[in-house]
């Protein structure tokens, strides 16, 4: 069996968190998910700072990133990651409600790896999240130094 790697999930809405984890758990992908509630917490985790000073070293397999979050939004997080030497190769997937062209353009300009619009229909939503989990946490390969 393939090894399941860590998924870092940045989302401020508890309902979205619950529904997403529900979707992942259907496919046994929920166990390695770490949830952070905003951009600042995301950066703390990635840089092992603040509450995450003691965490096990290494980068997650992928960051699932919401755009609209308090304090520091998704696009700011993406920008910070891409300008940080230790993080710039980290796979980042934007997972958002917005289908706005400007968000898409900005995300790709900042170097996002994928951009997924959350489908309103829950069945489609489950399928989308499942595919993301399987692809990024199981199938995708990353450079050695990124592995946790």
């Amino acid at each position: 069996m393939l090894k399941l790697r860590t998924i870092l999930f940045a989302e401020d809405n508890p309902k979205d968190v619950e529904l997403t984890l529900e979707a992942l758990s259907d496919h046994n992908l929920a166990n390695n998910v770490i949830v952070v509630r905003d951009g600042v917490e995301t950066m703390d985790y990635l840089r092992s700072e603040g509450n995450y000073k003691q965490r096990k070293p290494g980068n997650p397999a992928v960051l699932l990133l919401d755009i609209k979050m308090p304090r520091m939004d998704g696009l700011e997080v993406l920008k910070a990651i891409r300008s940080d030497a230790r993080l710039k190769t980290l796979p980042v997937v934007i997972l958002t409600s917005s289908r706005e062209e400007q968000d898409l353009i900005k995300s790709y300009e900042l170097g996002v790896n994928a951009y997924v619009v959350k489908p309103v229909d829950f069945k489609e939503f489950i399928e989308a999240v499942r595919q993301l989990g399987v692809f990024w946490a199981v199938i995708n390969e990353v450079p050695l130094e990124n592995k946790s």
């Binding site: 309902k15 968190v17 770490i34 965490r55 609209k68 409600s97 400007q102 309103v120 829950f122 489950i126």
Partner: protein
């Protein structure tokens, strides 16, 4: 690190309710914060809710209005007839569908103030699809009306000025194929009328068919022409000479110009030239006559037996004939060397005093002197002194007669003088007549003529010239007086023009302003040329001047109005841009925030279904399915609405591309989406066009997917796509053999959320064709449709041809 656990039943139900409440709260907030007035009523037409804008416009507060009849809170009348208009809420209740208000409706507020408004009402349905009330949305139009009225007034002002200008004005296409605007004066010049000229560009005719080409060529080089002279043909084949000014607006595809008929001026100038020629001819003739006279004079002097002797006032002799030499006993050459003031013999015999007295008094002096000649002969000599002017100098003439001989014919001299006087009188009369003719011609043409004697610094002019400058002859007799009458700002330039003209003997043509005694300013156009002598020395300048004040004022006014209009357009544009930005921000937040609660409702319903399916009775499952259906529809509606608003705001990215290519792509993708359908596609050859490729692909996607959708109940599907090339546009069409529609609703087809078929039969939100219309409108085209119920439909859209 957090590991989420599965939720239990009560929590999930609770969450579902909260989500629904949140959703409702969202709508209430939206209603309270939109810029339009919103009122909702129950089925009895009694007010339930009002937002702040509605409170402000009606003057009623939500609290006092609640429960009152809508007719009381929202009374509306027709702006023109002042009669009551049926409240749209009543119509919505009666017809059960969205109803708009007639144009020109006025809302009377509680305090009696009136607001022109537009509005519409829509029914509110409950889950059983029963009408539970009406929502009325309306908007204050006062500002739009004022802005529209101001624009109309400015348009009328500009129009009046244009139509009544005493200068011919017109606007035409660059290639001359159409006249876009023409005023009465121009039509008069062409001997036509405005309507005839607008209908037929061939009414503008050039005397020389190649002249227009040359003019356009020149125009293209500089972008404008000023005072360009060109001959035209009037309707009655008369040639007229025009001075035109033209501006080119290549980005607008037209040119604008003004024209003055200068045929009259030309004729006057021609007449002046002819008169000058005649004058010169007369002068030549007179000069020849004078020459003859002089020769005759010399002959008479030489052959006269009277002695003739003349000296300048200061002394030297200028005339001496053989007779006087003979009488004096000297040669003519010796006589001519005499200075009478140094002649001792004259002082002795008293002739010196006689000459002096004649010069001083200008009266004839005579003397008889007895003397002895060098030949020893005694002689009585008669001296006759008179004075004359030559070259501005005083002379005396002395006639000497040897009265000893008493043989002289005294009549000879008298006769000669009479002849001379006669000649001079004749010449003067003719000169006077010429001058009068010239003056008359100038007054008629409102052209003043002038002459500037450069050597003497003297200015003289025709009556019209003094009238134009508003001064007397003495006030403009010298060059510096002329300069002082000019507007200060023109001093330097005009003097430079005059100096250059004199220095290089080049034609002088300049515009300047003069300040009249009442401080009014008059615009003058002056032209002239320099006359030089044989050695190239400039002697005088001659020319004309003309009053062009009115022409300049009209030009200035037009320029001002144009600037004002441009400013207004720029202002309006920036207002529109600002409101576009607001809309963008609004739809962005709708896109983010409205979808999230919907997704949550969908998610929790699904989880409820998944985990507690067996515990739910059949009815409970039916409810859950209905909630899920509505959520799905809401999602589609939000997406469609966002896209519709985006097609109206997005900048067009235009390029040349092949229409066949995108139609084929769309057909291919529709084939994949409907694998079980057998469709006969009839695709005509389509042209390349200039437009936004992505948006036009969306147009084809909407039209062709509609065609596929509405043919699915028939046996054999045939969809035809083609183009008709009209004069000014390309008309594309899609013809299907589907269910069609009732042609009387064709107008409604392209409205937002308008549907002509029940959702159970044919799915869709009714945004597709609204999008089509928006995109085509933005390309400058039109959309329309033809159909018969159960007998297929044809949808058309047009794209204007490129110039």
């Amino acid at each position: 690190m957090k590991i989420m656990k599965k939720s239990n039943t009560s929590k999930s139900q609770n969450e579902s309710e909260i989500a629904l409440k949140e959703s409702e709260q969202m709508y209430r907030t939206t209603m309270m914060s939109v810029g339009d007035g919103v009122i909702t009523t129950n089925t009895e037409g009694e007010v339930k809710l009002m937002n702040p804008v509605a409170e402000e416009l009606t003057g009623w507060k939500q609290k006092e209005a609640q429960g009152k009849s809508l007719e009381e809170i929202f009374p509306i009348i027709n702006e023109d007839t002042r009669k009551n208009v049926e409240n749209p809420v009543r119509r919505v209740m009666r017809e059960g569908k969205v109803a708009g208000l007639a144009n020109h409706s006025v809302l009377i507020a509680k305090d009696g103030t009136e607001h022109p408004i537009t509005d519409s009402g829509a029914p509110i349905h409950n889950e059983k699809d029963e009408i539970t009330g009406v929502v009325l949305v309306f908007r204050d139009q006062t500002l739009e009306r004022i802005a529209q009225k101001a624009l109309q007034e400015s348009e009328v002002k500009y129009r009046t000025l244009f139509e009544n200008a005493q200068v011919g004005m017109y606007r035409s296409k660059l290639d001359g194929t159409a006249i876009l605007a023409v005023n009465r004066k121009l039509a008069e010049i062409f001997g036509s009328n405005e309507k005839e000229m607008l209908d037929n560009p061939a009414t503008i005719r050039w005397a020389d068919p190649n002249a227009r080409g040359r003019m356009v060529e020149k125009l293209k080089q500089s972008g404008f022409l000023h005072d360009y002279e060109i001959d035209i043909l009037t309707k009655s084949e008369e040639i007229r000479n025009l001075s035109i000014s033209v501006h080119l607006y290549p980005e607008l595809g037209y040119l604008e110009g003004s024209a003055i008929d200068i045929t009259g001026r030309k004729e006057a100038e021609e007449q002046i030239r002819r008169l000058n020629e005649e004058l010169e001819e007369i002068v030549k003739q007179r000069t020849a006559q004078l020459q003859d006279t002089l020769e005759l004079n010399q002959k008479i002097i030489n052959s006269s037996s009277l002695g003739i002797f003349a000296c300048k006032e200061e002394g030297p002799c200028i005339i001496a004939n053989p007779a006087v030499a003979r009488i004096s006993g000297a040669s003519v050459e010796e006589m001519l060397k005499i200075n009478f003031r140094e002649l001792d013999s004259w002082k002795k015999n008293g002739l010196f005093q006689k000459a002096e007295t004649a010069l001083r008094t200008k009266k004839v002096q005579t003397a008889e002197i007895h003397l002895t000649t060098s030949f020893g002969r005694d002689a009585w000599i008669f001296y006759y002194f008179t004075t004359f002017r030559s070259g501005g100098k005083l002379h005396f003439l002395m006639i000497v007669e040897d009265i000893t001989e008493r043989k002289l014919d005294e009549n000879e001299l008298k006769k000669y003088r009479d002849h001379l006087e006669e000649l001079i009188k004749e010449r003067t009369t003719e000169l006077m007549r010429s001058r009068e003719l010239l003056e008359e011609a100038q007054t008629m043409a409102h052209v003043g003529s002038w002459e500037f004697n450069i050597v003497k610094d003297e200015i003289s002019g025709s009556e019209e010239f003094y009238r134009l400058f508003g001064v007397s002859k003495e006030q403009i007799a010298h060059y510096q007086q002329f300069v002082s009458l000019l507007h200060k700002d023109d001093w330097e330039r005009v003097q430079k023009d005059v100096e250059e003209s004199i220095e290089w003997s080049k034609p002088y043509d300049t515009d300047y302003r003069i300040v009249l005694s009442d401080s009014k300013v008059r615009q003058i156009n002056a032209r002239g040329r320099v006359f030089i002598d044989d050695t190239g020395k400039p002697l005088r300048m001659m020319g004309t001047c003309m009053d062009i004040t009115e022409r300049k004022q009209t030009e200035e006014e037009i320029r001002k109005l144009n600037t004002e209009l441009e400013d207004r357009v720029a202002k309006r544009t920036s207002q529109l841009e600002a409101s576009n930005k607001e809309l963008e921000a609004f739809s962005y937040s709708v896109s983010h925030d409205l979808r999230a609660p919907l997704r949550h409702v969908s998610g929790y319903v699904e989880l409820l279904n998944k985990h507690f399916h067996s515990e739910l009775p059949e009815k409970g499952q039916h409810y859950l399915n209905s909630i899920a259906d509505s959520v799905r529809l809401m999602g589609v509606l939000i997406d469609d609405l966002l896209q519709f608003s985006r097609t109206g705001r997005m900048e067009l990215r235009e390029s040349d591309f092949d229409m066949n290519e995108i139609v084929k792509e769309v057909i291919e993708s529709l084939g994949k989406d409907n694998p079980d359908r057998k469709i006969e596609w009839v695709l005509g050859k389509l042209p390349s066009i200039y437009g936004d490729k992505a948006l036009l692909r969306l147009v084809w996607m909407n039209l062709l997917s509609n065609a596929v959708k509405f043919t699915r109940t028939g046996k054999q599907t045939r969809i035809e796509i083609g183009v008709k090339k009209e004069k000014k546009e390309l008309v594309f069409f899609v013809r299907d053999n589907g269910v069609g529609f009732d042609i009387q609703y064709a107008q409604k087809l392209f409205g937002v959320f308008q549907r002509l078929h029940p959702a159970e039969e044919f799915e869709g939100t009714g945004v597709g064709l609204a999008n089509v219309r928006r995109i085509i409108l933005r390309h400058g085209g039109r959309t329309w449709a033809e159909a018969e119920l159960n007998n297929g439909a044809i949808f058309y859209f047009s794209i204007p041809k490129k110039n």
